[in-house]
Every structure is written in structure tokens, then in C-alpha cells.
Symmetry: C3
């Protein structure tokens, strides 16, 4: 058994950092279990944007040690009948609203069980209308740290919500994808993988024809930033394993006026013969 | 006695997160006591806005375990004769400037003693003009963790500063209040309580006449978000126990152009007979 | 030997807080060593601004206990041939890119050795092109916590990069300096020290002639904020030991339209005879 001081609770929310909401959750956790290590993933998820929360969670969760308890709150449905859930994955526990937020990460590590949170014994005595993060999810997470089994928190369910995920498609030697996320550096992260690219014969060190939001570009697909000059566009496989468009030492999304959901089409450029 | 690794110091300031100021305070604390758990409440209090700091502290402090040491720095008077204080509440310790910042939280938990910080033994050797958070409040907090009694830090005082708090007033079946805080979601948090509302016969599931900043609205007072459609205004009791105006999945303060200090008047709407 | 639970890793980056990048680094660290205490200095360094990162690190690092391991990532050259380094200072370890980011802090505490990071045994198995913070610097830091000696991480090097630092110069009873940093309060922090001022006979409580970005001001040089009225300009020695220009309870950089790198000239004002 891991000592309680070695257990980790990781928090993700769209609460921002100017209010006391995140700290109230931490207080509730520490009141129940004052030795747990609490790590913030981020509290700057785009407000009420469940897809953005699911994406960011999935970029961080795989790097945490086995047994981490993720408490995640992007919850536009709070105060309606949407359920709260505990998900037992192959490695970790995930706690939050049943709106798909948790499932992208869970699917990647492998799912075991989903439980609806119903046992009031593991909630705060008074449940506010609008803040289940503090009154339900935080205490449930702290009790899991203390060894409460998820079966005690509620019954297993099978009709939990999973967000639809558009995968990139391939047709006529073209890949049709979309922008998943624009990160803080302005890197444009797509849902296209290296495997997709290989299927139409694309490898590093060639020029690609890229159409993004009705605008056509020729962009060099590189293994390293060093191959293009500062301020120049390049395409690469980013740190999450997805095809990205970046500017060396610059902000690609700003320059190309791109945001999440924009469409992108990729093909090999004929100009490669002259490269 | 609680082990030192179970002791908690919680920090609140208006320092922002782009400078090294908060980290310098943490370094000072850990230099004196390297096992304490440090939790950030927020460092994004509106710059030099003592009332905003007092409000946010009061929304988080009640959720922390007994014995937490709060070090709070919103300090427009730093470098003048304003005093630094340690407050011993019924549950926790509060450290910061004597400008009212700490007192809203202390009054709610119950106050025992207020001490002026004067003993240089528990400060950094060199005290900067402008950064008592690092040179005075942080080390004092760390020494409290180590078991130094507050009496050793300075003499008890009785003329500490308390911020005036406007409570809502009731006249002619109307409640006259004000906006305490706009949170990061745009929820408009007032100084009106459920008890105030009950005094003029208001309960959930009726329509209220609300005048806010010279503009009149009819707003449904609901126990749950689910009763109004997305993008619609609703009134509710928020997670801090105050009357709030919100928009389901939207930003009420932005839409109504409201900020802290704006006045609000509430009465039962005649239209309820038709509801 | 210090217990592993007393060891501190302090993080600084320009990653911002809306993505999962910082959390991924923390996950990697905790996977290797789940008892270490992780402290954030800041992740809001101006994007890819190595000088800003070096300055902020230097304002925080001196306050941390001996043996702290600083992992710092402001890394516009990631993915080129720029090297990763571990620096052993007289008190602490510093890990990051070899671009000068670490050296301002190291020079102040005293340097012992610089090692190039080459031993793949202490990196993640897959190294992404763009995220050495997660795949190289984070694991190296965690292995140092576990007692791996820096000699095992790579060979000593001597041709590491040091940023040129403009020191203020003095000529004809004038000091010529520049703005190092504008902090979150709008305080204008220069590279001019109290020693520089004393060389031309400047002490507290006199009026200075200050030319900053082609605009001339007469500003009172004060030991305390209390000597000027709210909203009034004053000059002082800031908490980092540098000459600063501030506005009592206001934002000097905004009012004077100043940013990093702007030039500043100081001399005694003749008007002091009339003060």
C-alpha cells in the first residue's frame, strides 16, 4: 500500500484563479485527508468548454503515476439532473460530471468501471446548487485517497456520456482533419496523426500543401524547429503526437487567424520535386 | 500535536503570477520549515483592493482544516506606519497587514486575539520597504508552524482595523443591497442573504422584480439552473450563501454591465399571480 | 542526508497556465519521485523571452533553501542543437536549456560545474521535438532528487552561454541605466543600484532629475511610500535591491508608457536647494 503522503490528487477546472473556488476545494480535500499531495493541472480551461477540458486533461493525465485521482470540473450542467461519476480506469481514478469530460483520458488508459456518485456519506452535509466541485467531487476524491472503494460511493452505470470525436479522414490522397486546440504559444494542434500522414506517403522533410480555413499554404514538414528560420511557418509532430502547425519563435494561430474547430486539408505538394 | 508535514500555510495576495514575488515568499517559508504544505488561495486579487481580498478569503477559509495559517497580502499601505498583525481565531491563524483584509474571515470563525508583529527575531534580517510579505509575514507564518506562540511575536492590540460592511436593508417590502463581487463566470454576488429574502416572503420558484444600476428586470428565483434555458437570466442562492444573479451557461455581469459596489433592489413581482 | 520528502523542485517556464504542459512535467517528476515537494515560481514568463525568465528566476532563487533543484524552461531554441544543461551552483542545482536563462542566478550564488545533459538513461524513452521540459529536464531533476550525481548525467562543459548584462554607467554626475523589468504592479525596475546612486552623492529624501524614454521628470527618492500622496510618482530601492520608479497605489509603467529595455538617466535635481 502506498503511504497516504504519496497519493496524488490532480485538479482541473474552468474556475479561473481570481476567486476562492479552487482553494475551497483544496480545503475540503485537506480537511478529510491532510497528507495528500494536490497538483493543479489547470483552472484556465475555456469556460464551460467540455471539449477543451477533455483535451487538456488527456495531454497531462498519461504522465502521472498510477493511482492518481483526477478531480475535474467543467460543468455547464451543474444543478440539472446530470450525474456525478467516479471512473475507475486501468491506472487511475477520474471524478467529475457525466458530460464526457473524463472519457477521452479514460479511453486512452483503458476503462474498468463507471459509478454514479449517490452516497451522501461521502459528500459535504450541505450541497450547494452550483458548486459540486467543492461539495461532492472534492470529498469523494479525498475519501478515495483514504481507501474508500468506489463501489461504496454509488452503483455502477453503463449509460455514461462519451463525446463524439471526429477522426481525420483520407480521400484521394488528401487528409481532412480539424483543429483540436490552439495552445498558449499559438501552436495549431490538429486531430491528424503521423499514421494518417504515412498513409498518403508523407514523411519528414517534404513540403505540404495545407488548406486551412479556405486559405492555401505550402509548409515544410520538419523533424526539428532548426530547419526553418525564426518567424517562418513549419509543420511538425507535436509533443502530444498530433500534427501541428507552428511558427518558429512565433504565434501561428494569431498569424493564420485559426481557432479550435477550423478545418484543415493536407496533401503532398508537387513542388517537392523541386525542393 | 499535528506533525509539521500536516500543517498548512495558505497564501492570498494581489501579486499576480508573472513575477517572482509569491515564489520568494514560499522560499522564505520553506527555508524555515521545509515540511509545511503550502496552498495558494489566489494571487489574482484585484490590485490593492482590500475588500476584494477580504471577500475571496472569506469564501475559502471556512473550508480549510483547523490550525491552517493564512498569510494574506493586499497591502496598499506597505511602507507607511500601518502595522502587521497576527490574528488568532477560534480555528486558524491569520497573518497580514492591519487594514481589515483578515477580519471578515476572522469574525465569521470567531476571534480570540490580535497581536502586532514587532519581534524582529521572527523577521528576515533585512526588511525591504515594499515587500513585507516576503520579509515579515512569510517568516512569521513559518515560525508559527514551528510552534512559536503568537505572544512571542508581539503584544496584543485592540485597535485593529475592521472594514465597514454594508448589510442589506429592508423597507416597504423591498430589499436594498449591493454587489459584493463578480466572479470569474460573471455571476453577480450580492450582500443579500436567504434570510433577508424570507423576511419579505420570498421563496424559490417565483419571479422577482430586480432593479440593478437603474435598470429593471423580472428574474426567476430558482433552486436549480435547470429551470431556465441556456442564456437566460436566473436568480439563486450561490455557493457562498448569498443571493446571486447568473445566466445559465453565460456571463451575467457582462450582459448587465455590473461591477462590485453597484446597488440592487429586490421585491416580489406582481406577475407571480400569472406565473 | 535530507529526507526525500524535504527536497524541493522549483519550476519556472513560459508555458502559461491554460495548457497541460506544466502538469505533464509534474506528472513525470512524481512518477520518478513521488515524495518531492514541487513549487511553481511562475509559468507566465513573457513567451520565449530568456532575459525576462532569467530576471524573475534571480528574484526568487536566493530565497529558497540550499539544495533546491530549479527546472527552468524558456526555450526558443528547443529542437535545434542548443544543449540542455545541469548547473551545480554553490547552493542549488539548475536545469534547463543552455541559453543563459540559468546563469544570472547561478552567478549570484556562485558556480561550481556545468554539465551537458547527454545520458539517455535519465530522459524519457521517447523525446519529443518540442517539449524537452517534459522529456528531459523534468526526469533529470527528479533523478537528482533521488541522489543521482550530475556527473552521471553528462560531461562537464565550459563553453556554456552567458547573457550579456548591461550595467549602469556613470559620467558627468549622471547615471545611465535601463529598465530591466516592469512588474505586475507597474513598478519600473532598473539596473541601477544604491551603490551607483551613492557614487554621485544621491541619498534618500532628495528630488532626482530622471529622464526616461526622452521625457524628463522630477521624482522624489524616498525610503517609504508614505512620503508621497496616493497617485504620486516616487523613486525607491525595491525589494530586489534595484532602483525603481513607482506610483503610490498606482501603475507607474502604464502612466509613463515604459517597458523593458527603455533607457533611463538620473541626476541630482538643482531644485533640491528649494526642497
Amino acid at each position: 500500500v502506498v503511504g497516504l503522503d504519496k497519493k496524488i490528487i490532480a485538479l482541473l477546472s474552468d474556475f479561473g484563479t481570481k476567486d476562492g473556488y479552487v482553494a475551497a476545494m483544496k480545503g475540503v480535500i485537506l480537511e478529510i485527508c491532510n497528507t495528500v499531495k494536490i497538483v493543479d493541472i489547470t483552472h484556465d480551461i475555456v469556460r464551460q468548454d467540455v471539449r477543451n477540458g477533455a483535451f487538456v486533461l488527456a495531454t497531462a493525465a498519461p504522465y502521472f503515476p498510477d493511482g492518481t485521482i483526477f478531480i475535474c470540473v467543467v460543468d455547464p450542467g451543474v444543478g440539472t439532473e446530470r450525474r456525478g461519476i467516479v471512473v475507475e480506469g486501468k491506472r487511475n481514478f477520474y471524478i467529475g460530471p457525466d458530460n464526457g469530460l473524463l472519457m477521452l483520458s479514460v479511453q486512452r488508459e483503458g476503462m474498468k468501471y463507471v459509478y454514479e456518485i449517490t452516497n451522501k456519506k461521502y459528500m459535504k452535509e450541505e450541497i450547494s446548487l452550483t458548486f459540486h466541485g467543492r461539495d461532492i467531487f472534492a470529498p469523494v476524491g479525498a475519501y478515495l485517497v483514504k481507501g474508500i472503494r468506489p463501489e461504496e460511493i454509488g452503483k455502477e452505470i453503463f449509460d455514461y456520456i462519451v463525446l463524439s470525436q471526429e477522426r481525420a479522414t483520407i480521400k484521394d490522397q488528401k487528409i481532412f482533419g480539424e483543429v483540436l486546440h490552439v495552445d498558449g504559444f499559438g501552436n495549431i494542434i490538429t486531430n491528424i496523426t503521423f499514421e494518417d500522414l504515412k498513409q498518403i506517403g508523407i514523411d519528414f522533410d517534404i513540403v505540404l500543401d495545407i488548406q486551412i480555413k479556405d486559405q492555401a499554404y505550402k509548409i515544410y514538414f520538419s523533424e526539428t524547429y532548426g530547419k526553418v528560420r525564426p518567424s517562418e511557418l513549419l509543420a511538425l509532430i507535436g509533443s502530444n503526437g498530433f500534427f501541428e502547425i507552428a511558427i518558429n519563435q512565433g504565434n501561428a494561430a494569431l498569424k493564420l487567424d485559426i481557432s479550435s474547430g477550423d478545418s484543415i486539408t493536407i496533401s503532398k505538394s508537387y513542388s517537392n520535386t523541386n525542393f
